[in-house]
Symmetry: C2
Subunit: 426 residues, 2 copies
């Protein structure tokens, strides 16, 4: 993509309303535009990150045999009356009346809709276990939206729902998804700590939140320092869930068996939340199957959420510096920023265009800064938007065929010849 | 994907409420589930088609240099008051009040939001031309939703918006997108006829609807028979727009220069609609730029829509038979249906599993019917869901290593040896 033809409105000034780094950087780097309180338009660069995150989430869900569906954003109120949550949900639920005065709502979560779908079509134990998931926009009418996409009102979430015949099978499903979540976050360059959590509005008996450590985290988490020593492969449910980790409302110092010197206290950002709640929804909504013995029993259910739009902010909170964002490679909007310091100079343009074509032919996503701007502006913008690699074409390239390559994360720079660029960044 | 582990709830009975083929078949083939009037959940098979369509739409938009964004579904009413459409839109607009009593709405289209975004960030003629598009859910509170996803209330649309400095440049952009639309539909196996159309609620001076011919079409279209002879390559704006083609409200027999014998009358389904409307929105919303001469002028705009969820129904209307859907390859949810007639037989299972693995390794998307069901049920389900190819493993395969391959579209069958399957279906 050539920057001169792209829509990337970066800001020089820091927007006054933004209190935390991710919010400031998302506005300054032209990732989003606020439409009204807690509601955003995703601009091209931000949308690419959002789509990269979605792709990883879907791949890890599909890998363990979950099936992707898509529920509507607008739902009939009836289902929520059946489950008993219509009154209970309070003012965070965006309630709507259609032209025929029917009560509707903008789904804040989808246990009711999916349970009703399964109740209609799944009649036999042979169809189980079954996990259905979607990535869809949700709305929660927060009283005070803040921190940009971290606590917005309209937000993108992956929500999954599991249906099993028995408690044992449901627990196995829960473990499988727990581990898939850890893999998902790991692929995004994040170390997530699964903490025991309150089941809150969803209800149920077993629940974990996935938290990443960041100074701006909204809650305090307490966890065994051993978490910091586990490799991703060692983060199985059976291992990780025996280590102490709790969100503040679940932490009881008197019940904590971890020695003080081994207990870490940190601020955490919640990026995922999973629940096992048995028959809480399958009973009232009639999701029942016939067992092998001919009995009819309600399904054992769980639900599993990942804050997809929130993750964009959370990743930035975990990975930035004074100059801007530092994207982990797996979610970066482009892999390389190609900076032509002598845009307009025929030789430099030819060399830059050549390298640009070469990189694209190799399937590498590159943003080419071909603008007629000062070097300082180009470097600052490139640091701000945080692509993993920066490749600089300048006088040196014209004279010697060497380009400067900077790795954004460490700031390390090296000169390489034009024909070695692809080899280095692959 | 193994059918025994998939979520594909096909129905034997034809749902009473469905009046047209696509609605009936979408329900029977387990593509969607109705949640309430005009609002659907997309089940796994339907969602795959919807995603395939989106992919083609995006590729053709990106190819001509459009940039993808994503606007929120919920918008503040203020912008619509500025444009004058808040009152004008009537009851089809889903109006919402949030917890702070602010007036909001579920976007039925997005001229206001995108013009406001561009007004904030685009200040110079140098950023032009600019085309931004999105694929996002819309809501129109139809008084009588019907025909399934063809006239739903919550529907998925690609909406694009162009911004140009001059009328001439805006016209060039309009032509470029017109041609991209024809390529888009052509890739989906559809022949779309661009007819001159009324500009309706969007307003403006130039507009085309893209219609496909189907007996269940909602409007009558009149077009020069020469359209039926043009190759996709010949369908340029300059050529196609000189041929007579009009939707009924624009058709004036007295002004039609086409000889009666050369004028076709048919029912059409609208799958796209494009508008050029000049400064209708840029004026009131302040989207203005500085020209090279230092003047400040409002942008010339157009908007461009494709009914993405509607296309799923439209494609079925254009391509089905008594037995079910016939998916064009480019949008088919799977390329191949692999039917094991002897599921449970060790030899048949081994052969089927082997072919299944081989096909997947070759990157071919295959649905493997490994269920313990009667042959009749398996054939009927496979015809119903309409995958392009059916590959049958049975007694013959065990005895001679030959499989039967059926091409769904023509019904042609042939026997080939197991090792030739990939070659044939590629």
């Amino acid at each position: 993509m050539k920057l001169s033809h792209y829509f990337l409105p970066t800001l020089k000034e820091t927007p006054a309303e933004a209190q935390i780094a991710s919010h400031r950087l998302m506005l300054r780097a032209g990732l989003v535009n606020q439409e009204t309180s807690g509601i955003y338009t995703w601009l091209p660069l931000g949308l690419k990150v959002l789509e990269n995150i979605q792709k990883i989430v879907c791949e890890e869900q599909d890998r363990i045999g979950c099936h992707k569906v898509l529920m509507p954003t607008i739902q009939p109120a009836e289902l929520w009356k059946k489950s008993g949550r219509y009154e209970a949900y309070g003012k965070e639920m965006l309630r709507i009346t259609d032209r025929h005065d029917r009560e509707m709502l903008y789904g804040p979560t989808n246990e009711e809709v999916i349970t009703d779908v399964v109740a209609q079509y799944v009649k036999s134990y042979r169809a189980l276990p079954l996990v259905l998931y979607q990535i869809q926009w949700k709305f929660r009418d927060e009283i005070r939206p803040r921190f940009g996409v971290m606590r917005g009102r309209e937000f993108l979430m992956k929500d999954g729902y599991s249906f099993d015949l028995t408690v044992e099978s449901a627990t196995e499903t829960y473990k499988k998804i727990y581990e898939a979540y850890l893999r998902t976050f790991n692929r995004m360059g994040l170390t997530a700590i699964p903490v025991r959590a309150d089941t809150g509005a969803i209800g149920g008996n077993l629940s974990h939140e996935f938290q990443i450590v960041a100074p701006t985290g909204e809650s305090t988490i307490y966890y065994d320092v051993q978490f910091d020593t586990l490799t991703p492969e060692q983060m199985t449910f059976d291992r990780a869930s025996t280590l102490y980790a709790a969100a503040d409302e679940m932490h009881k110092p008197e019940d904590c068996s971890v020695p003080v010197g081994q207990l870490k206290e940190a601020r955490g950002i919640e990026i995922g939340h999973i629940f096992y709640f048995g028959t809480k929804y399958s009973e009232p909504l009639g999701a029942k199957v016939t067992t092998q013995d001919g009995k009819t029993i309600p399904l054992e259910m769980g639900s599993y959420g990942i804050g997809v739009s929130r993750l964009v902010g959370a990743i930035i909170e975990a990975s930035h510096d004074d100059k801007g964002i530092i994207w982990p490679e797996a979610v970066a909007p482009f892999k390389i920023g190609l900076i032509n310091l002598k845009a307009g100079d025929t030789k430099a343009d030819t060399l830059a265009e050549g390298l640009y074509t070469q990189l694209r032919t190799a399937g590498i996503d590159v943003l080419y800064d071909d603008r007629d701007e000062r070097a300082g502006t180009k470097f600052a913008d490139m640091d701000l938007i945080g692509l993993p690699w920066q490749v600089v074409i300048g006088n040196k390239t014209i004279d010697t065929g060497m380009v400067e390559i900077k790795y954004r994360k460490t700031g390390d720079k090296q000169d390489v010849s034009l024909d070695k660029v692809i080899e280095l960044v692959r």
